[in-house]
Amino acid sequence: MQPIFKASMQTSLRLLMFTVVGTAALAFTFNITHDKIAASEEAEKLNLIKQIVPQEKFDNQIMQDILSIAADPLLGNNNATTAYRGRLQGQPSMLVMEAIAPDGYSGKIRFIMALQYDGTISGVRVVKHKETPGLGDYIDAAKSDWIKGFNGISLTNRSDKDWKVKKDGGQFDYMTGATISPRAMIKAVHKASQYYAQHRDELFAQQTVTPSKE
C-alpha cells in the first residue's frame, strides 16, 4: 500500500504545482493587459454610439452627459451601467443605455440601444456575444442588417404581441435554424424599452456622474 500512496501523492503534488504555475501566469497576463483591454472596449463602445445616434439629434457633449443606471431585471443586468444622454437645445432628446439579453444561445448578449425622448428606438447594436459564428451571429451589425429592424420601433407603434419573430406570430424577421438569438434580443430590447418608458423622467432629471475608473 505504502509505495502506491507515495507515488500518487507525488503525482498529485506535481499536478498541483503545474496548476499553480499556470494560474500565476494567467493572473500576471490578466493584470498587464487589463487596462488596455478595458480601454479598447470603451473606444469600441463610443464608436458604436456614434452609429446609432444621429448627429442632428443632439448638440451637447453626449459622452460627458453621463449617468449611472442601477441594475434592473428589465435591463437583465446585475451591475450598474453607464448611460449617455443627448440633449437638443437644452431639451432631453436621446438616451443611450446598455442592457443584456440573458438567454442567448451561448450565454448573455450585451447590447447598447439608443432611444429618442418619446421612446422610439433610434438604433441597437450588440456589443458582446458568443452566438454561433455563421448561424446566430447575424444579430451582430458586422454580419448582417438584421439589428436595424429595431430602428423606428417603439412601445406605442408596436403592440406586445408584435415583439416576437414572425415564426412566433410577431413582426421580426429571423433566419431559419437560428431563432434563439433573435428571440433573446427582441425580448431584451422590448423589456429595456419598458424600462425606459417607466423611468424616463427620472433618468433625464438625474445629476451627471463622473465615470468611476476601476
Binding site: 499536478l15 503545474f18 499556470g22 494560474t23 493587459t33 488596455k36 479598447s40
Partner: protein, 227 residues
C-alpha cells in the same frame, strides 16, 4: 541540431506531414475560419505561436511530468498559454480579437496542438520541439491561407477583406477587388464551400505527390538496361 534535422522539421510541417492536408487534424477551425484570407492567416499564425510556445514549454519538463497524468498537464499548459495569447490579442489587436472571437479559446481543443506535444515535444529537446510546433503551425497557416483565398475570391470577389482589423484604418485601401461588381457566391462562404475547397486542395497535393513518384519510377526503370 544539424541543418538536415532543421530542414526535415520544416519539410514535415509544411509538406510531408502537413496538418491540414495529410494528418487532417484540427479540421473544425480550418473549415470554420477560412472564409477569408485575413481571418484564416490570423488564426493560423495564432495557432503557430501557441504550438511553438507549447513545444518550448513542454519539452524541457518532459521528464518531470509523470506519465499517468501527462495529458492533463499538457492540456493545462496548452490552455494557459492559449489564454495568455487571447489576453494579448484582446489588448493589442482588439478588432481582430472580436472577429476571431470564440475560435481563439478553441485553439486549446484543436487536437493538432495536443497531437504534436504528445508525438514530438514529449520526446524531443526544447529547440526542436518549438521549431516543430512552429513549422506545423506554419503548414496549417499555409493551408488556411490558400483555402481562405479560394473561398474569399469565389464567395466575395475580394482578397484581404478585413485587413483593416489588423493594421488599422489605413489598411482599408489594401483590399483587392479581384472581380469588380461581384454579387457573391454564398456556397463558398458557407461550410460546404470549405469542405469542397479542402477536398480539392487535398486532391491537388495527392496528384503532385503521385506525379513525383511516377516520374521517379520511370526514371529508375529507364536506368535499367533492357536485355
Amino acid at each position: 541540431m544539424t541543418t538536415q534535422e532543421f530542414k526535415d522539421i520544416f519539410r514535415n510541417g509544411l509538406w510531408k506531414q502537413n496538418t491540414g492536408l495529410v494528418q487532417l487534424l484540427g479540421l473544425c477551425p480550418i473549415l470554420a475560419i477560412s472564409s477569408s484570407v485575413v481571418n484564416a492567416v490570423s488564426l493560423g499564425l495564432a495557432t503557430a505561436i501557441v504550438m511553438a510556445m507549447t513545444g518550448a514549454a513542454i519539452a524541457p519538463i518532459r521528464t518531470f511530468v509523470p506519465k499517468e497524468i501527462r495529458i492533463a498537464v499538457f492540456i493545462l499548459i496548452i490552455a494557459a498559454l492559449v489564454t495568455v495569447v487571447q489576453f494579448m490579442m484582446n489588448a493589442y489587436v482588439h478588432g481582430l480579437y472580436v472577429v476571431l472571437g470564440i475560435f481563439i479559446p478553441l485553439i486549446t481543443t484543436n487536437c493538432i496542438v495536443l497531437a504534436r506535444v504528445e508525438a514530438f515535444a514529449s520526446k524531443q529537446p526544447t529547440l526542436e520541439s518549438a521549431l516543430d510546433g512552429f513549422a506545423m503551425g506554419l503548414g496549417l497557416t499555409a493551408v488556411l491561407a490558400v483555402l481562405g483565398g479560394i473561398r474569399e475570391i469565389f464567395g466575395r470577389g475580394t482578397l484581404l477583406n478585413g485587413i483593416d482589423l489588423v493594421f488599422g484604418e489605413v489598411a482599408k485601401s489594401w483590399v483587392i477587388h479581384v472581380i469588380p461588381n461581384y454579387h457573391g457566391f454564398l456556397l463558398a462562404i458557407l461550410p460546404p464551400g470549405a469542405f469542397i475547397s479542402l477536398g480539392l486542395l487535398i486532391a491537388t497535393r495527392n496528384w503532385i505527390v503521385l506525379r513525383g513518384e511516377n516520374k521517379a519510377k520511370e526514371f529508375s526503370s529507364a536506368a535499367v538496361p533492357a536485355v
